[in-house]
């Protein structure tokens, strides 16, 4: 029984990281219809910036804030320099633009930072908490709490605030949104900024547990993308559930079946779900209009 609990704790910790990354994907997709493959780089920028600042002696919480700001600035730059000029480009071009941007950012990070692996101590110490035979690091609670907070915030922001509704309106019909007085350009900037901030925050929170280095962004983006699609692209609930599900599938497969094929198990579940529900678990059904 304590085994199962440990597997679940592990799955939820890892899943919460995936969910946070997936929420970043969702934010940008909802505003622009772009799935941003450079999302993983935001996570790395957040983690590396925090690690370097903390190593320089900056207090942890200030470093965390500055790291999120750094990620946000890069997110806005990404939108202005790479995404906005390519508006209306076909899906495959957008995929390549965001992948190109992620390669560029990786190259830049290896210059600005270094190629070493970095970490810093958890915010609430390193002593594991024990309950019912299972253990969890305090930082894992930060991660889980952080992901849920981001989810609640985004859900509230998108449905209850003027700015959030502006983003949604921009997404569904840019022209109509502009006609009713929504500053669509501002809405797009905002959504990229928020998405990057969410990514950087995920990096800041997870680095004490997962560590970070300049080139881990691709794998993070892959997991986040998988979680996003499993949940159904564009749905915050989908991102949260998709992320947690993949985390749990991985840990339970590693625990009960074979750690060798735990990543494979996640992909098999994604494929099976898409065969049955081509729009993901929470995605909107697509009906073609002819």
């Amino acid at each position: 029984m304590s085994e199962l609990l440990q597997f679940l704790v592990s799955g939820v910790t890892v899943g919460a990281i995936y969910a946070a990354v997936a929420l970043g994907f969702t934010m940008i997709y909802n505003a622009s219809g772009v799935v941003n493959f450079a999302q993983g780089e935001f996570v790395v920028i957040g983690g590396l910036t925090a690690a370097f600042l903390i190593a320089m002696g900056v207090p942890v919480f200030l470093a965390a804030v500055l790291a999120v700001v750094a990620g946000t600035v890069v997110g806005i730059l990404l939108y202005r320099l790479a995404i906005r000029p390519a508006r209306e480009a076909p899906l495959v071009s957008l995929i390549i633009i965001t992948i190109g941007a992620s390669i560029f950012l990786r190259g830049a990070m290896q210059m600005v930072f270094d190629k070493q692996i970095h970490r810093y101590d958890g915010f609430s110490g390193e002593t594991p908490l024990r309950f019912a035979g299972a253990t969890i690091l305090p930082q894992s609670l930060w991660i889980i709490f952080g992901s849920f907070a981001v989810f609640v915030f985004l859900a509230w922001f998108m449905s209850r605030t003027r700015a959030g509704r502006g983003i949604r309106a921009t997404a569904s019909n840019r022209l109509a949104a502009a006609l009713v007085g929504i500053n669509t350009r501002w809405a797009m900037n905002l959504s990229f900024a928020l998405s990057a901030a969410v990514g950087a925050l995920a990096g800041v929170l997870s680095t004490p547990v997962t560590f970070t280095s300049y080139d881990v962004g691709v794998l993070i983006a892959l997991k986040g993308f998988s979680a996003t699609m499993l949940g159904g692209v564009g749905s915050p609930q989908g991102a949260l559930v998709g992320g947690l599900l993949i985390g749990l599938i991985e840990s339970l497969t590693a625990g009960y079946i074979s750690s060798d094929y735990k990543d494979a198990a996640a992909f098999i579940v994604i494929l099976v779900v898409l065969f049955v529900r081509p729009e993901g678990l929470f995605g909107k059904k697509l009906t073609e209009r002819v």
């Binding site: 009906t287 073609e288 209009r289 002819v290």
Partner: protein
């Protein structure tokens, strides 16, 4: 003789019945028109008949065979072709290639021959090209054959779709607003074209807003309102049907319409 039999066809989207128990038949050599105000469910009805949507209720029969629920490409093989209200041409291809694509069903070629560029494959392409040129000529587009479809006008694209549907060798042709975007001269040409198609013995089903065109060429008219069939009959019967007038103008406008008719 009836080619296409629609019986009690219906579909709902999110609880709203977009098409509700519609029944009608289309005969060979006849033009059957579907009319009704905007949002009456005409295009949805076409999408049901041609297999783009799967119906919740009812049956579709072609030449007495039940084809309900079959995918579009099998309906096409059973002899049904259509055009689209919001244009589904292939913009990257030339006008000629667009129409040649319609020859898919009559082309006898296999993938290997196509890859290797065998004479059999080239022969089929040559045959299709001839058939496509003939169809373009009929639609009055022969001069535009080599132009990319993206450069054609709206009215020309409407006719391009008719030409593309024609080369499939269909017996049943569904036309969704073929005269939309056409000027008076072009409308006349479309009129002649449809007339000629019906004369060949094909069953033509037409959705059209241009009432003069409808009244002139229809043998039979079906009127839809809010997804339901409210009237059916010959043009002269429909012209004076108060329900139809009410549906178009609202009950309150019916009197005005009568006044205008007088």
């Amino acid at each position: 003789m009836s080619r296409l039999d629609i019986e009690d066809l219906g579909i709902s989207f999110g609880g709203i019945k977009a098409v509700d128990g519609v029944t009608f038949s289309a005969g060979a050599g006849e033009v059957t028109s579907i009319i009704g105000p905007n949002g009456a469910g005409k295009t949805t009805l076409f999408n049901l008949v041609s297999g783009v949507y799967t119906a919740d209720t009812g049956r579709v029969g072609i030449d007495g065979t039940d084809v309900t629920g079959k995918p579009p490409h099998l309906l096409a093989r059973a002899g049904m072709a259509r055009t689209f209200q919001n244009l589904q041409v292939f913009p990257q291809m030339t006008a000629l290639d667009n129409v040649m694509t319609g020859c898919h069903m009559i082309e006898r070629s296999n993938l290997l021959a196509d890859l290797l560029g065998l004479p059999s494959s080239r022969r089929e392409t040559a045959k299709s090209r001839e058939a496509a040129r003939e169809a373009l000529r009929r639609a009055g587009l022969e001069k535009l054959a080599e132009r990319p479809a993206s450069e054609l006008s709206y009215g020309q694209l409407k006719r391009l779709e008719i030409a593309r549907a024609l080369v499939t060798g269909c017996d049943i042709l569904l036309l969704d607003e073929p005269a939309a975007g056409c000027n008076a001269v072009e409308t006349r040409e479309v009129d002649d074209l449809i007339h000629g198609i019906a004369q060949e013995g094909k069953a033509v089903v037409l959705i059209e807003h241009d009432m003069r065109l409808v009244m002139r060429i229809s043998s039979h008219i079906v009127v839809l309102d809010q997804g339901r069939k409210i009237a059916e009959g010959r043009p002269d019967q429909i012209r004076n049907n108060p329900d139809v007038i009410a549906a178009y103008l609202g009950a309150h406008g019916a009197a005005e319409a009568e006044a205008a008719n007088a």
